[in-house]
């Protein structure tokens, strides 16, 4: 396995960890082991989905994001709200209220990521017209799904659409427009993404498909929520900022929003990481080669279900649905109508660094040695009880066998094997004790 440390937003708070098996059992890439009574995250396998954050009763799994204190580092600050932020405020009729409230937190400007989504939507719609594309093309918007593919479905990397995330495009647009309006230099402008998930934080710090992220920092939606909530009711009609995205851009907050914005009938929208895994398995088998587009969201309901959101994801999805309907009444334009072709050329929209298979599931770089390890693994599995109890600290008996083969665990760490051995030893001792002197 790669020894190089990879940056992850998802971390463990050692003090709070009890060493239980909850996170162990729920990790979709088997990236957690419990050793010496504490959980450990295997860096090369973690995809920052945040499932462990959700499942941990002891709050020992945390997402490291930036804080509002980072605002000090820049002369000018722009807030980049993910559309899922709007879903946090039940009964919200107009996104303009949230934009105004955000500005009051100390930002010089607010730029909706939904506007970036409009541009990305148009770019994807045009991309889909190119001939000879792999089927289905896979959305690159959810960074957890992209990393999941890198770790578990490396053969599907060519299917990932080579267009940047709305957050990145929005950051470039925000900075460019601000610099033009205020006659300042790009490096003076900090762009702060208000994030629903740790995966976006990781995507900023160690980007995939591009050399450097255009976003300066990511601030957790949870942190901002508490500050915004009391402000929302105080915003007066005249202070409200005008939302400038289409209704479709706002819709990206929830699952199927991306698909609706590219007007692709022949698409499949899947939410929830286990559901995404099931469908990616089928794509791998070519069972879904009749599809044009696959939109996978790691979180249930889409971004509104992110681990750093406050509101129940179903309620948030409903709020988004109403906001989209309201916005559509005021402006019925689609991204294709709203985004001028010139914008597509003006900004850098393509992912230009190849996404490589991550290799974290490999037993060895040398296939001959990997084969020996796999054989040995099979022998060990045949001898394990198959309870998948997690007592050894590995999520399943199979993963435990893999850990033994890789030198990370010992067979007697299986409590059931140990019991059998103790029983045999006890019987031997009884036999010995009963032996009569000849």
């Amino acid at each position: 396995m790669d020894e190089k440390r990879r940056y992850h937003s998802v971390r463990l708070d050692k003090e709070l960890c009890k060493g239980c098996t909850n996170c162990l059992m729920h990790c979709p890439t088997e990236a957690i082991r419990v050793r010496k009574g504490r959980a450990h995250i295997l860096d090369e396998r973690c995809i920052d989905c945040g499932e462990c954050i959700r499942i941990c009763d002891y709050h020992a799994k945390v997402a490291v994001t930036d804080t509002l204190a980072e605002l000090k580092l820049f002369r000018y600050k722009i807030a980049l709200p993910a559309p899922s932020l709007y879903g946090q405020f039940r009964g919200l009729a107009d996104v303009g209220v949230v934009l105004a409230a955000l500005k009051r937190l100390g930002f010089d400007d607010v730029f909706e990521v939904a506007r970036g989504a409009d541009v990305v939507a148009r770019a994807i719609a045009e991309k889909l017209r190119e001939p000879g594309l792999p089927r289905p093309l896979i959305s690159s918007a959810c960074p957890t799904v992209v990393r999941l593919i890198q770790v578990r479905f490396p053969d599907l990397i060519p299917n990932i659409v080579d267009i940047r995330q709305p957050m990145e495009v929005a950051a470039d647009m925000a900075r460019a427009e601000f610099c033009k309006a205020h006659d300042c230099r790009p490096e003076q402008v900090g762009v702060f993404f208000i994030t629903p998930c740790p995966a976006k934080m990781t995507a900023i710090t160690s980007p995939l498909g591009q050399k450097k992220s255009s976003v300066s920092s990511a601030i957790s939606m949870m942190e901002v929520y508490g500050l915004l909530r009391p402000l929302i009711s105080k915003i007066q009609q005249e202070e409200k900022l005008a939302g400038t995205s289409t209704s479709y851009g706002i819709g990206w907050a929830a699952s199927s929003g991306e698909t609706k914005s590219i007007f692709q009938e022949n698409a499949l929208c899947v939410d929830g990481i286990q559901n995404c895994i099931r469908v990616l398995e089928e794509i791998e088998n070519n069972k879904l080669s009749d599809l044009t587009f696959f939109e996978g969201n790691a979180c249930t309901g889409g971004c509104v279900g992110g681990p750093l959101t406050f509101e129940n994801n179903y309620v948030a999805k409903n709020t988004i649905r109403k906001l989209v309907a309201n916005a559509k009444e005021k402006n019925a334009q689609t991204p294709q109508q709203s985004v001028p072709a010139s914008v597509l050329n003006k900004y850098d929209l393509r992912l230009d660094v190849p996404i490589e298979p991550n290799g974290a599931m490999k037993l060895d770089d040398d296939i001959s040695i990997a084969m020996q390890k796999l054989k040995r693994m099979n022998e060990i599995i045949a001898d394990l009880p198959g309870y998948d109890c997690g007592s050894c600290g590995s999520p399943t008996c199979r993963a435990f066998a893999e850990d033994i083969v890789l030198g990370y665990a010992k067979e007697m760490e299986c409590i059931h094997k140990l019991k059998d051995k103790l029983k045999a030893m006890a019987e031997q001792m009884v036999e010995l004790a009963q032996e009569k002197r000849e």
Binding site: R152, P154, D155, L156, I157, E281, E284, N285, N286, K287, P357, G359, M361, K362, L363, D364, D365, I367, S368, A370, M371, Q372, L374, K375, E402
Partner: protein, 141 residues
Amino acid sequence: MSALLHEEYPVESGDYDRAGEASADIKRKLKQLGVPAAVLRRVSVASYEVELNLVIHSDGGTLTLEVSPEAVRLISADRGPGIPDVELAMREGWSTANETARSLGFGAGMGLPNMKRNADDFDIVSAVGEGTTIRMGFRLS
């Protein structure tokens, strides 16, 4: 040269409940071996097709995976009923899938042509009353 890794998967006729499990395990093993992504994709497609063929068309049989550093091999051997006209069966769109299979979305007549397209070498031998054996090879180097 003899295969270094040899796995056998029994596949029963009409067992839709387990259909796809053998190919899923094959995929997982090949990923653990670090088989290159492009080859992995082709083996995935072919192994799934051949496993489903055993479920849908055969009287049951065995799917075998063999891996050496040079190649991945898949061998499907069934207990019947055998294909009367192999040439016809190899044509795209030709299928004898029954209603159950069709209602589950199979039977497009692309199974065998798909296997042949994805494998580097493909061989099919069939005798009515005896069974069908399909051998596929995928080069690793």
